[in-house]
């Protein structure tokens, strides 16, 4: 009885540690994005480390974790940049969910799943962001958002994909499944 309680507690602590690691990863990625990467412009594009981290995390941990991480990361960005609250959260929620679903289904064990998902989601987030801002009546330029900025941003995000994926693999590795009984002892 005591052993079972200890095991349950240990599992709870591991789960909490896992959640904290994921949360910390997303928090750091969001802060680094708004503080550092947002100010870097290379050939007109801006690398998005939060998006890349989210995609890698979602591929690793699934759609639910991807959606929650996307929402949290987007919300941090919206809060930190004092933008319209919820816009980035909405975009990244959908992006995290889609990346997670891709990882759970067709992208499972595919070698090129990470760069493919990063490239596609970068484009989709840009298109979705443009549509959302247009619906909100914000002055946005489709040419700037989809050509001038997006074209260089895709390769920049692809450059980030490999190291970020390795980092996510180290920090946010999914917890190992509980060991199954390998033998049965018959008590007489």
């Amino acid at each position: 009885m005591i052993a079972r309680a200890t095991a349950t507690r240990s599992r709870g602590l591991r789960a909490l540690g896992d959640v904290l690691r994921v949360a910390l990863l997303i928090l750091v990625a969001a802060i680094v994005q708004v503080s550092i990467f947002a100010t870097i412009t290379i050939l007109g594009g801006t690398p998005d480390i939060l998006l890349v981290t989210l995609v890698c995390l979602a591929l690793l941990r699934g759609s639910i974790v991807g959606a929650i991480a996307g929402f949290a990361g987007g919300l941090i960005v919206d809060v930190a940049t004092l933008g319209t609250l919820g816009v980035t959260a909405l975009l990244l929620t959908v992006a995290g969910y889609w990346a997670g679903r891709y990882g759970e289904t067709t992208g499972r064990d595919r070698a090129r799943a990470v760069p493919l998902a990063v490239a596609v989601i970068t484009i989709l987030v840009a298109v979705g962001g443009l549509a959302l801002h247009a619906m909100l009546g914000d002055p946005v330029s489709a040419h700037r958002a989809l050509l001038t900025t997006l074209l260089p941003t895709v390769p920049l995000n692809l450059l980030l994909a490999w190291p970020v994926n390795r980092l996510c693999g180290i920090i946010a590795r999914p917890p190992a499944p509980p060991e199954r009984a390998s033998e049965v002892q018959v008590l007489v």
Binding site: I31, I36, V79, L85, G86, T93
Partner: protein, 276 residues
């Protein structure tokens, strides 16, 4: 779960969009931003050296690119200035030629053939130029060549479309000339001084020649022979006059009117009787 998050995000968007500045959502956002600020500041400070290094390299490459562009632009502008200077000089010389052509000193029994200089003396031993007019244009051997300033030489070789002009500063040149004021006659040739200084030789000691007098071609004519040069073409001004008891003639130095170092256009004078 995902639907809830999407709906929550949409609700936040709606509230944030509709709410005024003092609303609860905005206040919460402001509070969140304040809470995040230390982290942002810390991240910025950590990243500053890297960003500065990036900016330095970026600025360096930008500066190198700018310097390259500016050098090319400077070179283009310099060439343009040179072209303009050359054109202005050419215009000045052509105007002088035109003035000479229409002036009272232009010999009436000669036809002018305008030509540009296409080659210059290669060194101190070749006081000659090549002009872009030849026998096809009517240029003849021994035709005198002038600029707007005055006489410069004589055609010594003619091809169909080019001619070689031996300048007055060549050792072999000799032009019968006289003082326009006193009619003291002599022969102009290369002087003993340095550069393009000429000398009026064979002037008798009893003749009167003074500094500042203008020397012009004599243009003599006898029954069968005549000078190669028409009369009255300006050559130069007298800069010094000297004589000694042992010499037979005066030593008269003449500064030519023409600047032999920058001749761009000339007029070849061809006799009307023999010219085209």
């Amino acid at each position: 779960m995902v639907g809830v998050l999407v709906l929550l995000a949409l609700a936040l968007v709606t509230l944030s969009y509709r709410e005024s500045n003092g609303g609860p959502v905005t206040s919460a956002q402001n509070a969140g931003a304040e809470a995040l600020r230390p982290f942002e500041v810390a991240a910025t400070r950590v990243a500053r050296p890297f960003r500065d290094a990036y900016s330095w390299f970026d600025g360096l490459f930008q500066a190198r690119s700018d310097a390259k562009k500016l050098r090319a632009e400077n070179e283009q502008l310099r060439q343009l200035v040179l072209q303009h200077e050359f054109a202005a000089n050419e215009v000045k010389q052509l105007k002088a030629l035109l003035a000479y052509r229409e002036g009272p000193t232009f010999p009436n029994d000669y036809n002018p053939i305008a030509a540009s200089v296409i080659s210059r003396p290669a060194g101190a031993f070749a006081q000659a130029i090549v002009v872009s007019a030849g026998s096809a244009d009517g240029v003849e051997l021994n035709a005198p060549v002038v600029t707007g300033a005055g006489l410069i030489g004589l055609v010594t070789r003619v091809t169909s479309h080019a001619s070689r002009v031996t300048l007055l500063t060549d050792e072999s040149s000799a032009v019968s000339a006289l003082d326009a004021k006193t009619d003291a006659a002599g022969v102009v040739g290369l002087g003993p001084g340095v550069g393009a200084t000429l000398e009026l030789d064979r002037v008798s000691k009893d003749k009167d020649v003074r500094v500042g007098d203008t020397i012009v071609t004599a243009g003599w004519r006898s029954t069968k022979l005549s000078s190669l040069y028409p009369k009255g073409i300006p050559i130069g001004t007298v800069t010094s006059v000297g004589q000694s008891d042992t010499d037979l003639y005066k030593q008269v130095q003449v500064q030519p009117f023409a600047d032999f170092s920058s001749i761009d256009a000339v007029i070849v004078l061809v006799r009307k009787a023999t010219g085209r």
